[in-house]
Symmetry: D2
Subunit: 236 residues, 4 copies
């Protein structure tokens, strides 16, 4: 989720690289509900990300929250993320639509599938066709889980568009012990990629520690995901 310090970044990056991850995500600028929560390391975080890439060879992705930050962010990363809270920040969508980098667009907490597709259209219409759609949980009346990961969106999005569909079970269900089940379900439903949070010491995490996988849980999950992918006739 958030980049916190050099040790955390490098340990985690090496773990996920060794387990077969294809991308490394780290938040430099963090959108937090409260202004008094940890807000991210900023440019310092971007530099850590770039070093992690140099060390592991894994391409890196980070969230953009402000049109004015885009120039600096583009210098350090391989892909951009638009977070759920900014899914209908249309100025930002247009701006990343003019970038050369791939954009992962996360579904807003109360965005319909159609809203998500229309927001993707803002990016596409500016000429950036490299857009990935990410299901990460919607808001419902259920309070047991943090959000309701809406896997129904996976087959629907696959049918409605050619864009790749990523699923983020970590934010979706928000409970570490159930992240793996939802990741496997996402793959069975047809997702093209899974994005999960991993933390070497989640109990010390500055945000969302209770939902991040431990490194060994992540390795185990990668193995299981591959089996389900094969069972539904795919490779991830």
């Amino acid at each position: 989720c958030a980049l916190e310090n050099e040790t955390q970044v490098f340990t985690t990056a090496k773990t996920v690289a060794a387990s077969g991850a294809k991308f490394f995500r780290g938040g430099a600028f963090k959108p937090r509900t409260s202004p008094y929560s940890f807000q991210g390391l900023g440019v310092e975080g971007l530099k850590l990300l770039a070093e992690a890439r140099a060390e592991t060879g894994l391409p890196v992705i980070t969230e953009v929250m402000d049109t004015r930050d885009l120039d600096i962010i583009e210098k350090y990363v391989d892909a951009l993320q638009i977070g759920a809270r900014n899914m209908q920040n249309f100025s930002l969508l247009k701006e990343v639509g003019r970038s050369k980098l791939p954009v992962m667009l996360k579904r807003g907490m109360s965005a319909t599938i159609k809203d998500l597709l229309m927001s993707a259209e803002y990016i596409l219409s500016e000429g950036n066709f490299n857009v990935l759609l990410c299901e990460r949980g919607i808001r419902t009346f259920e309070t047991y889980t943090r959000n309701t990961l809406d896997l129904n969106a996976v087959p629907v999005l696959k049918a409605e568009t050619h864009l790749p569909v990523v699923v983020d079970p970590t934010h979706g269900i928000g409970l570490r012990e159930h992240v793996a089940s939802m990741a496997l379900a996402a793959v069975a439903a047809g997702a093209d990629a899974i994005m999960t949070e991993v933390h070497n010491s989640p109990e010390l995490a500055k945000s969302d520690g209770e939902q991040a996988l431990l490194p060994h849980e992540y390795q185990d999950l990668v193995t299981r995901v591959r089996k389900v992918a094969e069972a539904v006739g795919r490779t991830l």
Copy 2:
């Protein structure tokens, strides 16, 4: 979904039996939003169900909607269903709690996971421990799908209780072309059983035709479900 006539019942029962189904569900008494919709065949339907069982050897299950119907229904079927709309019909829950037959309890459209467990408790507390919990979609703001099948409930229910968890992707997503994806996802998430609607001529169905699988789609799904079950180390 609903039992309609002899041909439909027998054709469908034979198809699902041949494909490896473990149970045959048919609605004799149907809860319909409008009083002017088809309300089911009643006792005539129960008799058809019993004949289908005799012919195929498949145990049968049907929905109970009224405490006064329980005696007659118990004579014809092997298991009882409590529908989503009656999940908090506490008189009915207590009554089936005094039955010897297994009860499949469907989650209400706006019932939390905790509400579902408390409703199960009504049945258990009367002495009937043979209860199956069924996730069948909740109501959210999303309108593309009929309901939002909440697969998050599967690992949560498996962790919170020892009761078997069934998933009904047909009502959950409500779109025939996506039922299979959601069934596979349900199995990967840990469901113990899948319940789907099958109709030999869905375009003629008196209710919910647009979401029922065709017989050949059902056979294909059974094969795929088995592969995913194996991939997650289970048999169904």
Copy 3:
């Protein structure tokens, strides 16, 4: 909400009668999420209700939960209530549709306005035209309030049907200190009647004590409701 004992019933009935109430509601059979919560006094409660009517002259209303209870309930009360959890208990709707008594039908927690109208249709289609519709809060993602009282339903129902519209702000918002504001808003929105819970010692209540008004708060509310009713050109 629930009838608890003689003192509570008579004190409350006299208070609300003196303040200008038109009806006295008391639950004899209580639908409770958990089977281990207080379930109501049953027939004993019905007798208390009838005595309260004799003493105060106020007509009384109580909830029916089971088709088998209707005969006995009809002997003691002036009107029937169908609770939110039974709004789509179609057997029960048909049965009260054959009664001579007025029926107050409460909107289900996740029932659309159209669902509510269709459920009313079940009662009307059996010949009982004396149906009142009651908005009592729906389930949304908001957790600050117990439910989300949906006052939008008031003008919509008034436009869609000739049936009287009642609002229950007590269950709707679920917080005593805000019940009055929502009651006034309901009247301004066009509601024909307001139903609130009153308890002489809410801290001792066996259910929902935290949301019941104290007798003096109720008296004060009646005065304020009348002023708002006048301001929108109505009498209640």
Copy 4:
């Protein structure tokens, strides 16, 4: 809603000024779900707004969507609006927190009351204490109305904070014929101000025509709002 052309702006501004409005809102930059919908007049719209103020004496407010637009917008208007889709655009919140102008913060479609208060905190924590909170409807399962105007938020916000509470019934219910009922209800619930859309020819409107009040409906509403305000002991 959106500023469209000179005639529309001046006619509407004069009408609402004559009816006793305290503020005139017009969208120069418009957040639209689709990139192919009308996006607003931009700076041209700001100039029209400023002219409308000169002509009528009414202070004007407009929406800010991008941190980079703030400087130019501040030159033309008296107050800033943060729209529902940007309620958690934290960069934008911080930026308007450094402005000298009042900020009206609209509740996001799936924002809890607590989320709204935390977003206000982003503005307050930068030193701008002149924040108004606006309830404008949340997303629920109900489809009859455009959104579910959540009037429960009014008494809750009044109790939780000293900030003024504005209600926008136009977007909230989204149906012209019911806007007035919800406006009256909002005042009865304790709202400090009502914001409605008015259009002299709604059938020609470039956005949201079906929900804008006609000028004569607006005048009538102002009179009725005053009566309800008096009935609850307030002036607006």
